[in-house]
């Protein structure tokens, strides 16, 4: 007296592959989404880091006779510029430290003519007019270079956004593949169970009753595949995170694998992937059966 399915899905070989395909799709979608979430967080961090900073570089004189660019007028100009929060001339030791990875710490550095760098902190809410500032600098200190880190970051940001858009495209393609797979599996199921469907119709079953049976079955398969895919994706992310942590111990130069640490809200977004996959299988099966039965006499 149990109430299972009236249609014998358990003996149906046509949909046996569906959970595995859904698992693979959820696995790929989960990794792609995790990558996009990590990239988004990284871009956000970098954006916050660079949006309040710029550097003015005063290159060393081309010849000893020419003399260095005077720092004081430049500092005064910067301090008088609206939107500038603070101005600090980096000591020569700090500049030497910046080129240390390439030139080392030997006598060559001491003898080298290094540029003077002015670290400028700006108010991100009221950023200065960089074009006007650049023009004033050209007049006050010809040869000075205004380096707004934001400009370089914008290119990086554009690249990051392109990758995120590609991730969305990949997710959409995976979703379309899930829909098509479910459509084919459901149509195969309709053909296999044609006889039982006919009996149910004769006994007075509505198309919606039969469609719900197929949809409920597809939902179960989709959930099973989705959970499997999510578990595999989580295991892969954990493995990558472990590899990143192990590499970090060996030294900063060995960080071939980026740190992978998802926040709780990012995990909850990933949990939505199998739920979305199950919803896709349910509604696709429902629509497929309704469409197919509507064409019957």
């Amino acid at each position: 007296m149990s109430r299972g399915f009236d249609i014998p899905f358990a003996r149906d070989g046509s949909v046996r592959f569906l959970p595995w395909i859904v698992a693979l799709m959820v696995y790929l979608a989960g990794l792609a989404l995790a990558g996009a979430l990590l990239l988004d967080a990284a871009l956000d961090d970098w954006s916050r880091g660079v949006s309040g900073v710029m550097t003015v570089e005063l290159p060393p004189a081309a010849t000893e006779q020419a003399g260095d660019i005077a720092v004081a007028p430049v500092v005064a100009l910067l301090q008088a510029t609206p939107g500038v929060a603070s101005v600090k001339l980096l000591p020569r030791a700090a500049v030497a430290k910046l080129v240390e990875p390439w030139l080392g710490t030997g006598q060559a550095i001491a003898a080298l003519a290094l540029p003077q760098l002015i670290d400028v902190r700006i108010d991100p809410a009221h950023r200065p007019d960089f074009a006007a500032l650049r023009a004033k600098l050209a007049t006050a200190a010809p040869g000075a270079v205004l380096d707004d880190a934001r400009l370089r970051f914008d290119r990086l940001f554009d690249l990051g956004m392109s990758i995120e858009v590609m991730t969305v495209v990949i997710l959409v393609l995976i979703g379309i593949a899930a829909v098509l797979t479910t459509v084919f599996a459901t149509r195969a199921g309709l053909a296999v169970h044609q006889n039982v469907i006919e009996i149910l119709h004769i006994l007075g079953a509505r198309d919606s009753y039969i469609a719900r049976q197929f949809a409920r079955h597809a939902l179960g398969l989709g959930l099973r595949g989705g959970v499997t895919g999510l578990v595999l994706a989580a295991a892969t992310l954990a493995l990558l995170g472990h590899a990143a942590a192990a590499a970090a111990i060996l030294g900063p130069g060995l960080r071939l694998v980026p740190a992978i640490t998802l926040l709780p809200w990012q995990w909850s977004v990933l949990v939505l992937v199998p739920i979305a996959a199950a919803a896709i299988t349910y509604f696709t099966a429902l629509a497929t059966v309704h469409g197919a039965l509507a064409r019957m006499p």
Partner: protein, 231 residues
Amino acid sequence: MIRFENVGMRYGAGPEVLRDISFQLDVSSFHFVTGSSGAGKSSVLKLIYMSERPSRGVVWLFDKQVSSLPRRALPPLRRHIGVIFQDFRLINHLSTFDNVALPLRLAGESEVKVTETVTDLLTWVGLADRFEARPPTLSGGQQQRVAIARAVIARPSLILADEPTGNVDDAMAMRLLRLLEEMNRLGTTVIVATHNHHLATRMGQPRLHLDGGRIALIRPEAPVDRVMPRS
């Protein structure tokens, strides 16, 4: 209750299996549909239980022109019809109980009502100890009783039986026909399709005889004459 008006029917692009069929059956009547194998007996029944639509002509059922009704309007009408098939057409993975309960559940009856009604009926047909048995484990006679129970459980006003005696011995066949007669006496309209003329004659009920895609009414002890002849 049932009226066919100049009904023709073909499967796909094949030849017409029924041609200009016209007849009318009243409420609470009992009719056999006879004819040789392939004469179109099952096609007539399929048109009545709305599994097929006529290629031309009009079919009336329960005072509705069902041949042109939209699909969504058919299930409520089908629930007034009980169908018994020669091969029973039980759903093999469902238990005896669930097979018989299907029409009630499809009609939206409560599980309490379903359990009570199905238990009573299966007990009455002698299958009280086979509730959980799957059809393939039942004998032919038991399967037929399940099929009959499924056909009558929702108290249909029309029962159609397609070669119901084909897979059982003569004694079982007569018992089934007596049961259908009893239901007919209680007001149910009954139509039995069979190729067995003698069985139909023995029952003393009128016959709709199919031959060459055309139909004729044969009354008991009466000569053949055309029903609702058309010019």
